[in-house]
Symmetry: C2
Subunit: 259 residues, 2 copies
Amino acid sequence: MISITILGTGNVAQNLFEAFLASDTVTMIQVVGRNIEKLNYFKTRASLGTYDDELKPADIYILAISDDAIQEISHSLKLNGLLVHTSGAMPLSILSTHTRIGAFYPLQTFTAGKIMDFSMIPICIEANNEKDTQLLNELANAISSTVKRIDSQKRKALHLSAVFVNNFSNFMYTIGEQICSENAIDFSLLTPLIEETAHKIKSIPPYKAQTGPARRGDQKTLHTHLALLKNKNQREIYTLLSNSLKVMYTGQNPNPKNQ
Amino acid sequence: MISITILGTGNVAQNLFEAFLASDTVTMIQVVGRNIEKLNYFKTRASLGTYDDELKPADIYILAISDDAIQEISHSLKLNGLLVHTSGAMPLSILSTHTRIGAFYPLQTFTAGKIMDFSMIPICIEANNEKDTQLLNELANAISSTVKRIDSQKRKALHLSAVFVNNFSNFMYTIGEQICSENAIDFSLLTPLIEETAHKIKSIPPYKAQTGPARRGDQKTLHTHLALLKNKNQREIYTLLSNSLKVMYTGQNPNPKNQ
């Protein structure tokens, strides 16, 4: 049995809370936060606390708060045990005012009010000694079927990769939605295409799955599309991504003078 | 009963063939192509032909070939009936040497060797007279539960939107895969995140679903990421997309001198 305390009340904290509560090898000691309204979510099912309290003894304290608050909050914490954060971008060293430290990074995007099936979510773990790494491994395996030891440097690269596949892809969806909206087209027509594009890469590497006018070097369609885009920023994005794809797939250099 | 002939032997042609064959309101007259090897796919289940033949009588001829071949091939066709292409980018007028013309655009990405469930694929139809539009509507309803009348101008905008949500998103996956590969990280760790990002927009508009350092205006993480990217083109893409997101969400102008 592993005893844990969750520090934080946001989407990640709520999702971890639900997953750990459903596991019979984890005991929930406390949920700690500063936002009373958000702490309400947990009140009937956990003992609550604030960051200023002397925290109750637990094996692992999980700091599930935003990146820019980790340093300040962790400095003020009075605890005995293993302290881990859940950030993809932050190294272990950000917790260095404590002795036993680690990371417990669930590689997923969490949405307010939506509880995810944690068994499918990869968890990347790291600690500053082997015994604690094993403890985190045990904790992660209690809720997920994919647990990986990833050090701070690799975690940073993984987080950068996640920015491309998640944040930037979602931005592409937003631009697609704007184009539909400007042309009175129902954006939901595109959802089967979006889902299939994401699904496809499980069986075909994305480099091989690439299609479209830029991959084919189809200048005529590229020019038609640019003429359709009224927004300067959208034209810039279309041009840069199309030119990059052309170079990648056809070896064509779209702007020889600039090289 | 609607009788049809498919012209073309690629992924779209194969997928349409399977969908129509499974429908009991459509009769397959012929599959026509120039690539003997690809025609083999159909030979036990359809009468075959080449583009130079006088085509057998059919209600609708579906030209499922690449955009840049439509004009030339359609000019050479000897047929009587409604001729439609399956292109998102091309207007009806590209078929104008024929009298009864239209478009039958399935909004999906097709992969060699993979047969899709057509009932979930939106089909956008257009014809140059109301009777033929109704005929296409009937044909599309035989295989799909989402059929929309979309004129050439709107279809072009829809295709442009599809380039962003499909081609460009897939390119983001490729860059994510490259970053993983350079750092000896298993890219499949990211597939649950990729699928959830795509799935999410069915319940939350992408504009609202956006997360990440650029949306938050988190300069520290943005600089860390740029320092990690060794590839000049990847740095350019990261910078342009992050700056665009920052302007969109925080109103911050990242490069006041350039405006």
